[in-house]
């Protein structure tokens, strides 16, 4: 399926933005992903043609970076940080909670295609507001299971965010997209961190806290992305870069 003319126009414009056209690969791939929700073979071929590259070169680049999808993803993408700073403040409990709420393991998409979620060991740069996650590239910090529930409810009512000119439209209540912590503690907001000395999420890692609500019934059948693993407390090998087996050549082509 050829790319929409808007996307082609955007890619063509990006081509001349840099001293050398090849530099535009990453933004061009963003344009494709913004339109299709993932990087299709045809999309990569079109980018290659416009940038005067071999399609293989585009795929070599696209698979290196963890934020490009090789398959269509759900309407809303949740990325939960489980690196040290978030883990010290209860990220594993958030992961367990999201998993039980969405009913599919990390790296999976809910059966209704609404959510794709993943726990990532890649630090998201929100350690000051740990535990944190990104929803459709927007930060949500100081998460608690209750807040996650509220967020999921609101997202469930939201359509897939639309993108234009690489600008994703913020769709969740603006207040939620908190600013990064400035000098000093976070400014008071809807997302104020737990007060000093308050019992936050447990600091220990890997155990579900009895204080957290028991998982409810999963919201739907889940589909599992290839390569996702769920046997450990979080995705050990990072399903975002898990091997996506490439198709073998068709014997008939030989």
């Amino acid at each position: 399926m050829p790319l929409a003319s808007d996307t082609v126009r955007e890619i063509t414009a990006l081509r001349v933005r840099y001293p050398q056209p090849r530099s535009a690969i990453l933004p061009c791939l963003w344009a494709v992903q913004n339109e299709l929700g993932y990087l299709s073979a045809e999309g990569m071929e079109e980018v290659a043609a416009i940038l005067d590259l071999a399609p293989s070169e585009v795929q070599a680049v696209s698979t290196f970076y963890s934020m490009y999808f090789a398959q269509p993803a759900g309407d809303h993408q949740l990325l939960i940080c489980v690196n040290v700073s978030c883990a010290l403040r209860g990220a594993d409990a958030i992961v367990d909670h999201v998993q039980s709420r969405l009913g599919c393991p990390s790296g999976g998409t809910t059966g209704d295609g609404k959510f794709t979620w993943e726990s990532t060991i890649e630090c998201l740069g929100a350690c000051g507001g740990a535990p944190a996650m990104q929803v459709n590239h927007h930060f949500h910090e100081n998460l608690t299971p209750d807040r996650v529930d509220g967020l999921l409810e609101r997202l469930r009512a939201e359509p897939r965010p639309s993108h234009a000119n690489g600008q994703s439209v913020g769709h969740v209540a603006e207040a939620l997209t908190v600013k990064a912590p400035s000098s000093g503690p976070h400014p008071p907001s809807a997302e104020t961190p737990p007060a000093p000395n308050a019992e936050g999420p447990p600091a220990d890692t890997g155990v579900s806290d009895p204080a957290f609500p028991a998982p409810e019934l999963p919201l739907g059948e889940h589909t599992e992305m290839p390569g996702s693993r769920s046997k450990r407390s979080y995705t050990k090998r990072g399903s975002r870069s898990a091997p996506r087996k490439r198709p073998r050549p068709n014997a008939g082509d030989l």
Binding site: S56, A60, F64, P243, R246, R248, P249, A251, L254
Partner: protein, 642 residues
């Protein structure tokens, strides 16, 4: 403090001194430590490093200790500097090698028994020599990838066996520029693949299994055919075109199992094209002429070779007596060795006394050595190279890789223009420097005209792509109606190849000697059939049957190029030896001995029959070949002048 703190003065000779494991050498500035160690006979194991590619230092196998460096250094990417002291024997180097091998084997499958690379696998060899005794990694945790992925009808990829040395992807980046194989994914999930797993289309795929240090890329045509220790290896020259790529002929049980490249930086630069590489095993299935045959109106009968030679001489003498010497013609081919050509042209000129001799069907009017002045490696020294049409690269595919190297690594401007270009190109060329002009031999006229024009403002050297493995040698040694050995003038010009055939068909020539004519293309078959029907005497010496051999009055089997010794000359004039890799498919002697015997029967006794003795004779007569020796270029006066 009077201590001399100035660094040692740069030596006059441009060499720098290095000590490796106590041995010292002086090597050229810029030499890599791996190369310096090779000079000193010290082995440093490498996977990613490759002599034809830029260093990347990714495998970390070659880490060595360099004095005054805080960390171990990759020998493959470290240039030698004056006074450098390197150790490859320290305990930390040994431990590092063991560690790297453990890492490389971590996710490597345990399928050596069924791996085609077994016996010539660097991973096996280095693991044996430098590796750990046992694995500490649980086998259940190995990362798995696709196995036995057919990338084309030639190449199979086992992504699991890959150690990610990047040689194949760099090959496609740096050597061919085709970018077919790339790295995908990252970290431990990194793999080599084509775009969406699409098949390879390159004309140079066969090099991939050779550069792969492990069994990840294997040759499907050689798959499960042999283990390397069962192969007999003979040095040879690829017989497919006139480029003269050096090869190793690997045979087993009297069959050619594969052609492997044999690096000659001046010619092939270690790359073979698939057409050439595939031609080796295909020889095993070629139909061969095995016995001498005499044929007359009453039918044909197999005879001994001496009977056949005597009959050939008798019938040729009869023709000469009846119709005169110019009723006889001699045709060689571009597949004959220099020694065969030498005897054949001598047979024509002195024993049969005919001016009609040639080696190809095309005519070469005004042929001169200046059209062969440019050497293959000299392409890299040109300021610009003009390639007329696509024939040169189609005929000699490896030329494409040399042009790409000249362009990307030496900054040579490559201009490909239509074959018949007559428009002025002067304005598009650099003002200074040597201009190379490459054309096919079917396009000599345009090349001559263009060279004439360019030489008014530039220094121009021409390269002409000849046909066959020895089309150039046949020309040099005078297997031409209009030029004697060494491009000397002849008293009387004879008929050229096609005219000889047409004259034969018309009954003007009644006796014909043909050696190796089976290589002529099918398009001349009707003419050959008419020739065969019209001739009184047709003496054919050939390896493979064809329209002429089937009608020959005297048929004598020949030895294929892999079955005999001699020399051949490539298109740039490089004289290279061929050696017998297989026993001949016939019990008759080689062509040179047959020609010598035939000359004796014709009254010219004493001609050498052994190719080494013939070679001695021809280098005495053609000084350019004496200067070329074995492996050098035959350069003729006129070429040097040009």
């Amino acid at each position: 403090m009077a201590a001399d703190t100035t660094p040692p003065a740069a030596p006059e000779d441009g060499l720098v001194g290095i000590t490796i494991d106590g041995r010292t050498a002086r090597v050229a500035k810029g030499t890599l430590v791996t190369d310096a160690s090779a000079i000193l006979g010290i082995h440093i194991p490498v996977y990613c490093a490759h002599p034809k590619m830029d260093p990347v230092a990714v495998c970390r196998m070659c880490l060595v200790h360099v004095e005054k460096m805080p960390k171990l250094q990759p020998a493959c990417a470290t240039p030698v500097s004056e006074g450098m002291v390197v150790s490859t024997e320290r305990a930390d180097v040994a431990k590092t090698r063991e560690g790297v091998l453990e890492f490389l084997l971590l996710n490597h499958p345990l399928d050596c028994p069924v791996c085609d690379r077994g016996g010539e696998c660097d991973l096996q060899d280095f693991a044996f020599r430098y590796g750990p005794q046992a694995s500490r990694f649980p086998i259940t945790e190995k990362v798995h990838f696709n196995k036995a992925v057919p990338l084309s009808d030639r190449i199979e990829l086992d992504q699991e066996r890959c150690i990610l040395c990047w040689r194949c992807t760099r090959y496609y980046d740096e050597i061919t520029g085709e970018k077919e194989l790339v790295l995908q994914e990252r970290g431990v999930h990194t793999l080599v693949n084509t775009f969406e797993g699409k098949p390879l289309t390159s004309a140079f795929q066969g090099n991939l299994p050779e550069i792969c240090p492990v069994g990840a890329l294997t040759n499907r045509k050689y798959r499960f055919k042999a283990r390397p220790w069962d192969l007999q290896r003979t040095k040879g020259v690829c017989p497919t075109c006139s480029y003269g790529c050096n090869i190793n002929i690997d045979s087993r049980d009297f069959e050619i199992k594969r052609f492997a490249s044999r690096d000659n930086p001046l010619v092939d630069d270690m790359w073979l094209c698939d057409r050439g590489r595939d031609s080796g095993p295909s020889w095993n299935n070629v139909e061969r002429i095995r016995r001498p045959v005499l044929r007359d109106a009453t039918g044909s009968r197999e005879v001994s070779v001496s009977e056949a030679v005597a009959a050939a001489a008798r019938s040729l003498r009869e023709v000469r007596e009846r119709h005169g010497p110019s009723s006889i013609a001699v045709l060689g081919s571009a597949e004959n060795t220099n020694e065969e050509i030498w005897l054949l042209q001598r047979l024509a000129r002195t024993a049969l006394e005919t001016p009609h001799l040639d080696h190809q069907l095309e005519a070469f009017p005004d042929i001169g050595p200046e059209e062969h002045a440019l050497g293959i490696a000299e392409i890299e020294q040109c300021a610009a190279v003009i390639v007329l049409g696509d024939e040169p690269e189609r005929e000699a595919p490896v030329l494409t890789l040399r042009l790409f190297k000249a362009q990307t690594k030496r900054g040579v401007a490559i201009r490909r223009v239509v074959a018949q270009a007559t428009r002025s190109l002067v304005g598009e060329l650099p003002a200074e420097g040597l201009i190379g002009l490459i054309a096919d031999e079917t396009n000599r006229e345009h090349a001559t005209a263009l060279a004439g024009e360019l030489s008014r403002s530039h220094q121009v050297r021409r390269m002409t792509v000849t046909r066959g493995v020895n089309g150039r040698g046949a020309k040099d040694l005078g297997m031409l109606p209009n030029s004697g050995p060494g491009y000397t003038a002849v008293d009387q010009a004879g008929k050229a190849g096609r005219h000889i055939l047409e004259a034969s068909a018309a009954g003007l020539i009644t006796g014909l000697v043909v050696m190796g004519g089976s290589v002529w293309s099918a398009s001349v078959t009707p003419l050959l059939e008419r020739v065969a029907a019209a001739l009184e005497v047709l003496v054919v010496i050939d390896t493979r049957p064809g329209p002429l051999s089937r009608a020959a009055t005297v048929l004598i089997p020949g030895h294929a190029i892999f079955e005999k010794g001699g020399t051949v000359t490539n298109m740039e004039g490089r004289v290279q030896r061929v050696r017998p890799a297989l026993p001949p498919a016939t019990q008759t002697p080689s062509e040179t001995r047959i020609l010598s015997a035939l000359a004796a029967e014709l009254g010219a006794a004493g001609w050498p029959g052994d190719h080494l003795l013939i070679n001695r004779e021809l280098v005495t007569a053609v000084p350019a070949y004496a200067r070329a020796g074995n492996g050098g270029r035959a350069l003729f006066e006129a070429a040097v002048r040009a």
